[in-house]
Symmetry: C2
Subunit: 373 residues, 2 copies
């Protein structure tokens, strides 16, 4: 069994998703559930079809409630630790799609204090994180959320709303629980020990606000599940519905690592990368191709090991048939690394140009998304 460790602050090694399911108790998003979703959405997002959104907690319950007329809301978030990269967008793109299909409200938490506590070794100030959070809000809004149904908040700006509820959560969580779940120790700062209470709040905040239970669905990267393994029990004890969860896997870094980390500069495409930087990074990407053009033409490559193919799969080719053609060309050796990379770089550059155009447009009206106390 491959060694792996999935915690909210670091992903190490290659992840064995089957073990993850067994260890964390999350269930696969199987065909039957996909069909149940499709009945309501009319189609399935490519991230579901491709098993990138691959697992869940209590999705059947959520759909049951929906079918009974109990609409749910969505909650997701991002803790900034540096510039945002492509991998950060995945859960937001998926959440935006869910918002559109189910016409529901979305709460988006940007905990500006989380990495301040969790990554003290970086030596960044809370103000530094707050600035990153402001930029993150723009990047997230640019994904296309409906401003009338989306509430983005930074923890330190929304603390009056959040803290009061976090107090109740914290009262139900012991240090032992945090120690086991997050691997913290005696030398961990008390902020990081407390933090998960803040992340739990948006999962039941609508129920508090409406004075009645409202189902909540949380799309998230699987590394964040640990927060809700702890919080779901507590939320139940507080008398609210436990949130349902949809888990996605991680966009690999261009050099083939499991999760594109904001600190791995060369393997990540940042949302503010220049076209030159994108081209340079894509040119260094790991591909599944043979050592020479001749061998590649003869034997073909492996799209599963080719990061160029994977970037199409995760982000840049939503059409399954077109993706299959790309994979096929890789397998058959009809496309060579140079051309393959140049095509992808072009797609990424166009995507970023469009993203940053939308982001720029939002600058004057980001407040229509933001919730502050």
């Amino acid at each position: 069994m491959a060694e792996f460790k999935v915690t909210p602050w670091k992903v190490e090694g290659k992840i064995d998703y089957e073990v993850l399911e067994k260890q964390f108790g999350i269930k696969p998003l199987n065909q039957e559930l996909q069909r149940r979703l499709e009945k309501h959405t009319g189609e399935l997002h490519y991230l579901i079809r491709r098993n990138i959104v691959f697992a869940h907690r209590e999705l059947p319950w959520l759909i049951d409630e929906y079918e009974k007329g109990n609409k749910f809301y969505l909650y997701t978030g991002l803790a900034p630790s540096g510039q945002m990269h492509l991998g950060h967008l995945l859960p937001f793109m998926f959440t935006q799609w869910l918002q559109e299909k189910f016409d529901c409200e979305v709460l988006i938490q940007i905990p500006d204090e989380e990495k301040f506590w969790a990554r003290q070794n970086l030596g960044m100030s809370l103000d530094d994180y707050h600035k990153l959070a402001e930029d993150a809000a723009l990047n997230i809004a640019a994904v296309g959320f409906n401003p009338k149904k989306t509430r983005i908040f930074m923890d330190t700006d929304y603390a009056k709303t959040l803290y009061k509820q976090a107090v109740k959560v914290a009262g139900h969580i012991t240090f032992s629980t945090i120690k086991d779940a997050f691997g913290v120790g005696n030398e961990t700062n008390i902020g990081w020990i407390f933090y998960t209470s803040m992340q739990a709040v948006p999962a039941f905040l609508k129920s508090v606000e409406e004075g009645k239970n409202v189902p909540c669905l949380i799309p998230l990267g699987v590394d964040q599940d640990v927060h809700f393994r702890v919080a779901r029990d507590v939320i139940g004890k507080l008398g609210y519905y436990k949130p349902a969860i949809l888990h996605n896997t991680f966009l690999p870094s261009l050099n083939g690592d499991v999760k594109m980390s904001a600190s791995e500069k060369l393997g990540s495409i940042y949302l503010n990368d220049t076209p030159e930087a994108v081209t340079k990074k894509v040119n260094r990407a790991l591909t599944g191709q043979q050592a020479t053009a001749e061998l590649q033409k003869k034997y073909g490559g492996d799209p599963e090991r080719c990061m160029v193919c994977q970037y199409y799969r995760f982000l840049f080719e939503p059409d399954d048939k077109k993706l299959e053609r790309i994979f096929d060309a890789e397998r058959k050796g009809t496309i060579l690394a140079g051309e393959h990379k140049a095509d992808l770089a072009k797609r990424i550059i166009a995507f970023l140009a469009e993203h940053n155009r939308k982001k720029e447009e939002l600058k004057g009206r980001i407040d229509s998304f933001m919730a502050r106390d």
Copy 2:
């Protein structure tokens, strides 16, 4: 050496204040310092003259700053756990006097979450504590603070202001530190572990607000010192002045225990006690008198052991000469327990009537004291 334990959540046994000084590193408020204070206040509060306000941290520095023209502000607070009793008023009466003499701003924190976390065994909800906090705000304002220079706040209502700063504090405190200082363990809830970060904030909040260092003086019951033993270092690391502190001892309960605890119903006079309840409780008070009236007349009693005398000393006879006459009558046996108690009960009843009249008057305008985000 008498065994004792002073922590912010329970005071057990008889306190040896000398050991306290050695163990906690706080210094006696000696004659020289009393004279330095008196130079600015014109007179000394009876709580200082009687050694009830008995110790300090860095008072000489604070007076130095004051003499250089750097005015200080005051910070104190109260965590409600039940109805307020007479003992709770002491630090506020003293703080109000300081406000008047030094014409300075006062911040008063009412942490409605503290006992929710620290006393989970009581089974009270956060809403219960919030209601107690609202009542506490009235009791505190009724002590006579200047509404133009006093800011009272409950943590959950002022969390946007407090949490952002508490985040910075928490980043500098490890679980080990909390474990050593507060005696918490693995089964302690993460709220209580985090809490001291919130209590630290008002000690440097004015410096944050004014963008320059402002000295702070904290009058408090000595059991609260532990919070600032932890926080003072952190506040220094954040670049702010460490607060100076003035410590008071505890009003004994009527049955002679060291600290009047809100949970010891019979030994405590609550601010909302009826005259009948006051009379009944005072009649049960421990006195220093002999077993019979005859023996008392012959040998006299011990005012140090007489709670009636002590209540005059702590609260009901600010005039030293009159107090000495009361003590003397007790020593010489010229006053008997019945009369002695009846006199005190009358004083307490009159005090409470006046206090509650002021409290009632404040109900319509408490908002002029309150700070909320």
